[in-house]
């Protein structure tokens, strides 16, 4: 697919294409298409690739220049994602910070926080984990119980700490700090995280959305223990995080104390809005591969399979047009229509169907894995697709949101 976003961004596009052609070589080129939002495959190579991108100043295309970004507009960001996905470059290991935390800080963070945290994201010096979910708070995020309290007498402000090159509080005198206790779970790439952004309850008497606070917490300290959890694909991709008197500075609050829900929702909105374009190009590629496989297997002569194959193609094409509709609205400065909200439910469901079909077409050979449960792309994509209807708001929660917020149907009465 070729998409032309107009003359204004053609120079940018050509510069990017040239750069990718020159740098996506060797080991990086061998890892084309590897990785995904919850896929830990080839982590080290992907991290090195992110550093390569950082060296070319390609991370944070839309972020202000003062924080190390390029300071360009939405159109350039879209072109970047599109061209990036078009050459099938490895999935960025730093995706979480680039797509979620960074935009959250840009929107809700203090100037000091932006100065302190955004540049090391773009230079791939600090990795981040999202600490929202808890064993008792999944879909119902407002029921988080991880406690944070102010304790006087310790800590330093991070500006001082950063002068020394250390990012965690060192226990010197000035000002007080937060002490955090509780457990987080399903933190993607948690074992790699240098910092966590953690949704905590700061008012012990508060209920639900009130009394929550978003804290930035350094991972490298005695009070933070991060244990990997093996996912169903056999990867240690996500993690559980135990916070036992974990400490962070008083000024590590994003947004206001007690307003953590607002801050969290700002990131979730970003999560639903911008991540679908590269994903959809991956799905297109998978659909092409599926057709190739079907042709190889002679499956196209089977009318039942043929029908499902055509349907798979139809669904990826519909995802594409849906994304283009949203992009067109955003770039025209309009509020995105309902399709921006329905897209995730459609894409995740259809992607799973595509995976099932691919596995069926692969036949018995597709049932054999490599050493140490080594999976090929098809197997991995299929298994990992099962998470797409769970994270970022499960399909059921999406249906509630669509029903209540888009269609105006009444909420269920609270018990």
């Amino acid at each position: 697919m070729e998409l032309d976003f107009g003359p204004a961004v053609r120079g940018f596009r050509d510069e990017l294409r040239d750069w990718l052609a020159e740098h996506l070589v060797g080991e990086f080129a061998e890892h084309r298409g590897v990785g995904g939002p919850t896929d830990g495959a080839a982590w080290e190579v992907r991290l090195a690739w992110d550093r390569e991108l950082a060296a070319g100043n390609w991370l944070g295309v839309g972020w202000p220049q003062e924080y190390g970004g390029r300071g360009l507009g939405l159109l350039e960001e879209i072109v970047f994602e599109y061209e990036y996905a078009r050459v099938n470059a490895p999935y960025r290991a730093t995706g979480n910070a680039l797509d979620l935390l960074g935009p959250m800080l840009l929107k809700m963070g203090s100037e000091a926080q932006r100065k302190r945290f955004l540049p090391p994201i773009l230079s791939v010096e600090e990795l981040w984990g999202q600490g929202f979910s808890e064993p008792g708070a999944g879909s119902d995020l407002a029921s988080v119980r991880t406690r944070a309290e102010r304790a006087g007498g310790g800590g330093t402000s991070f500006e001082d700490a950063s002068v020394e090159g250390a990012s965690r509080p060192t226990g010197v005198e000035n000002g007080d700090e937060w002490v955090v206790n509780g457990q987080k779970v399903w933190t993607s790439f948690g074992v790699h995280a240098d910092w966590l952004y953690v949704l905590t309850r700061t008012d012990p008497d508060s209920r639900r959305h009130k009394g929550l606070t978003m804290l930035l917490v350094p991972a490298d300290q005695p009070g933070v223990e991060i244990r990997p959890i093996r996912n169903l694909a056999g990867q240690d991709e996500f993690a559980e995080v135990f916070l036992s008197d974990a400490r962070t500075d008083a000024d590590m609050v994003v947004g206001e104390v007690g307003q953590g829900w607002r801050t969290a929702m700002a990131t979730l909105g970003i999560e639903r809005g911008t991540t679908l374009l590269p994903q959809q190009l991956t799905f297109e590629r998978e659909a092409e591969a599926l057709i190739g496989l079907a042709r190889e297997r002679g499956a196209l002569d089977d009318p039942m399979l043929r029908r499902r194959i055509v349907d798979a193609w139809i669904s990826v094409r519909i995802m594409r047009t849906t994304n283009l509709r949203t992009i067109a609205e955003l770039t025209a400065g309009r509020a995105p229509g309902p399709q921006a909200t329905t897209a995730k439910l459609y894409a995740s469901t259809r992607h799973q169907q595509l995976g099932h079909l691919a596995m069926e077409l692969a036949g018995p050979a597709g049932q054999i894995v490599g050493e140490d449960y080594g999976l090929d792309t098809r197997q991995r994509s299929f298994l990992l697709s099962l998470a797409e209807t769970i994270y970022g708001g499960s399909s059921e929660i999406q249906r509630n949101i669509i029903g209540e917020q888009l269609l105006g149907l009444p909420k269920a009465p609270r018990p």
């Binding site: 139809i314 888009l406 269920a412």
Partner: protein
């Protein structure tokens, strides 16, 4: 890249919607559904004179306004939403498009102005007893005599064929499929209305017995133009289906908000809420399928048009039927009655599903066009 509607197109939508809110009410739809002619000539005239709907996408040199297919798609979405009873699809999506595509400038100059002004109701007579929308389905024969061409045979399932002033007929001549124009008063033309499951769109059987006809374009070379016409019509029908589905969802949601069972609105139960959400997902996906086709038509990329047209029919047909059925389900017993409008949408959906060939047929077209 412009995959969104312009302010002018939003305005057009408003104008058409408010016109139809006045002239295609449920009472109008029911009255015309029960009436064998199936349309209101006065409203048809006002459609032409007040907003120029028949000539919207007809170039100005043939008496139209020269708008594009995205604009026309907006209109079809609205006529679908209102279940407009009028020979609009037949005249505009089939007949006018056929004339625009056929290789006959004289015919365009002669025939399009009447369509654009609303004077001429026209249709395309392509299908026969075999119900096929492809080239091999055309059997009706034409032969040339001293006084010109004559047609003999039967066309059926012809939309608004009983009332059209002008019939464009696909017929077989020794060198292949050719296109002919037949006037309503032509001798040897016998038209019989067919009672339809979907009473909001009429069909007729048309018998030709040595009927004089005017050859349009070169003999035996009409199929490519017809195939292209059907691609355009497929996309416009998809827009109509999207509009119908959106109206069915609106009805379901309105009802789910007010109908109470177990002491609360049924829309507060996830069984209903999630069903409505899935209906919206289906509709937004269908919009993408239909709008993708509209944009391709205006961009003029022929390969893309062929693909997106087949895709639009394969997807939007089933989406409309699914949503129309779910609307009845949400309504419970009342949705199962003749009195409630829910069945009108179901029937429109079901007949639209096969109107230009079944979804399975369009999947096969798509597969062939993709080289799968």
């Amino acid at each position: 890249m412009d995959l969104t509607f312009s302010e002018e197109q939003d305005e057009l939508r408003k104008v058409v919607r408010s016109f139809l809110a006045r002239h295609a009410t449920e009472a109008d739809v029911r009255r015309l559904a029960a009436d064998p002619s199936g349309y209101d000539p006065a409203v048809w005239r006002r459609m032409a004179t007040e907003i120029g709907l028949q000539g919207l996408a007809v170039p100005e040199k043939y008496g139209g306004s020269g708008f594009g297919h995205v604009d026309l798609g907006v209109v079809f979405e609205e006529t679908g939403r209102a279940l407009l009873c009028a020979p609009y699809f037949a005249t505009v999506a089939l007949a006018a498009e056929t004339l625009l595509r056929c290789d006959d400038e004289r015919a365009r100059t002669d025939l399009l102005p009447g369509i654009a002004s609303g004077e001429t109701v026209a249709t395309l007579a392509l299908t026969e007893e075999n119900g096929r929308w492809d080239e091999v389905g055309v059997h009706l024969t034409a032969h040339e005599e001293a006084g010109g061409w004559r047609l003999t045979g039967v066309k059926t399932y012809v939309f608004d064929g009983h009332l059209a002033d002008l019939l464009l007929v696909a017929a077989r001549t020794p060198s292949g499929v050719s296109l002919f124009a037949v006037e309503a008063e032509a001798p040897g033309l016998a038209r019989t209305p067919l009672p339809t499951l979907d009473q909001t769109r009429k069909q007729a059987r048309v018998e030709f017995t040595n009927t004089p006809a005017r050859l349009l374009g070169p003999e035996g070379a009409a199929w490519p133009a017809l195939e292209r016409t059907l691609a355009t019509a497929s996309v416009l029908l998809a827009a109509e289906q999207v509009g119908g589905a959106a109206a069915a969802l609106d009805a379901a949601v309105e009802y789910a908000k007010i109908r109470e069972q177990y002491g609360r609105p049924i829309g507060s139960f996830q069984g209903i809420k999630h069903k409505c959400a899935d209906m919206l997902v289906e509709i937004e996906s269908a919009r993408s399928a239909a709008y993708g086709g509209l944009w391709a038509l205006d961009a003029g990329d022929e390969a893309e048009i062929a693909i997106s047209a087949a895709l639009a029919q394969a997807f939007c047909s089933e989406a409309f039927t699914k949503v129309a059925g779910d609307n009845i389900q949400v309504h419970g017993g009342i949705g199962f009655t003749w009195e409630h409008p829910a069945h009108l949408y179901l029937k429109r959906a079901k007949s639209s599903e096969v109107l230009l060939g079944t979804p399975s047929y369009h999947r096969e077209l798509l597969a062939a066009r993709l080289g799968i």
